[in-house]
């Protein structure tokens, strides 16, 4: 698929299957080396690390109320216990005389509300996080934080992507730091993207996780390319990844060596590509290769 620029925004998501592959560092570095206007979204809400390397200045916050929770009106409750008996999620606790919904476990199904003979139960949206709109050196960043126990969700990912798109529709690039895993938040991240960069590393489960990730992304019709991070920690492992990608027709657009200067840079609050190091050079090549593989012509400006 050829991507055109100079008008239509290009949407690139950086994902990894499992965490800890270096996805966030790579996303931050791409924000640096790509010479075009961009907006960034950190969809890895459970471990929102992009803010650690982009030094955002928060200019707006909004609450995220993403989950329905049941609420028992204690005045109306007759302590009959029907709700607790029916709840499949062990979300209704009692001390014998009063019944309370434990919102950590509640999945918002509404069965208790339906069954309550006293109409004492209502469903409420529960605030379970906060969304931030920030400025960074490279463009605006939309990110979020969840309260402990609350889960990242396709809903939250969809919301933060939408905020980014609506307010920055004239940018050339939408750059998304994706969540790990293959569940709902990942699918929501990848939906509507033009290109996916899968970051993998040659560990024992690296190839296995990459295969799963590709399987899940495949029907979502975005172009996929792979970059092997810390490839020199296990050369045979990296080779297996290349073989898999070749057989699957997926381009490997780069490989980055293990490089201690990466974390040095992070500690100093700088990006790896601000220094001249093996990893930085590999990332420069990576970006060039991404542009040519996805057929992107020069960005306007």
């Amino acid at each position: 698929m050829l991507l055109e620029s100079g008008g239509a925004m290009i949407r690139l998501a950086v994902v990894s299957g499992k965490g800890g592959t270096g996805k966030t560092v790579i996303t931050g570095a791409i924000a640096h080396v790509s010479t075009c206007s961009k907006v960034m979204v950190d969809c890895d809400v459970d471990a929102a690390n992009l803010e650690l390397i982009l030094n955002p200045k928060v200019i707006e916050r909004q609450e995220f109320a993403g989950m329905d929770t049941a609420l028992i009106d204690q005045a109306a409750c007759t302590a009959c216990g029907i709700c607790a008996g029916a709840c499949r999620f062990d979300a209704i606790k009692t001390n014998g005389t009063s019944f309370v919904v434990c919102s950590d476990h509640c999945e918002g199904c509404g069965v208790c509300r339906y069954l309550c003979p006293s109409y004492a139960i209502s469903m409420r949206r529960r605030v379970c996080g906060e969304i931030f709109y920030s400025q960074t050196h490279f463009g605006n960043l939309v990110h979020a934080r969840l309260t402990p126990g609350a889960a990242n969700s396709g809903l939250l990912v969809g919301i933060i992507k939408k905020i980014a798109l609506e307010r920055n529709s004239d940018c050339d690039l939408l750059l998304v730091d994706g969540p790990p895993g293959i569940g709902c938040p990942l699918i929501s991240t990848v939906t509507g993207m033009d290109a996916i960069l899968a970051v993998t590393e040659p560990s024992i489960s690296g190839l296995h996780d990459l295969e799963r990730l590709i399987r899940v992304c495949h029907p979502l019709s975005a172009d996929i390319a792979v970059v092997i991070n810390k490839y020199d920690l296990n050369i045979p492992g990296s080779d297996s990844i290349r073989v898999f990608c070749q057989n699957a027709g997926i381009p490997v657009v780069g490989q980055i060596p293990y490089d201690e200067s990466v974390m040095d840079a992070v500690r100093k609050g700088r990006l790896v590509t601000e220094y001249d190091s093996p990893a930085a050079q590999a990332i420069h090549s990576l970006w060039d290769e991404i542009l040519s593989t996805f057929g992107v012509r020069a960005f306007a400006g």
């Binding site: 989950m67 329905d68 969809g158 939408k162 509507g192």
Partner: protein, 115 residues
Amino acid sequence: MDNTRRICIPSSGPETGDLVDDRFGRAPFFMIYDTGTKKTEGHKNPACDGMGGVGPKAAQFLITHGVTVLVAERVGGNALEALKAGGIAVLLFDKKGATVGDAIEAFLQGELGEQ
């Protein structure tokens, strides 16, 4: 035989002058154009900020409102299956910056193909 068709267009607002929304399940509004009465109704999409399963829920809304054609840009897997089960044809419309009115016009001119 009643040839009336009811066309749904996901929209960012409740008027025909509003921009088409490029999603289905999470679009804030559904505009329904009736080829018989030639009128357009605007409905808030009850599924749009659901926790999950918004595709099927939105499809259910369309089925309940007698929609037979959906004009949209992106429709996810579960939603597509749900729409198919409901006998709703899905036509592709991905013109950027178009209004609901533009989409209706494109449909009436027979410009749209199935997804």
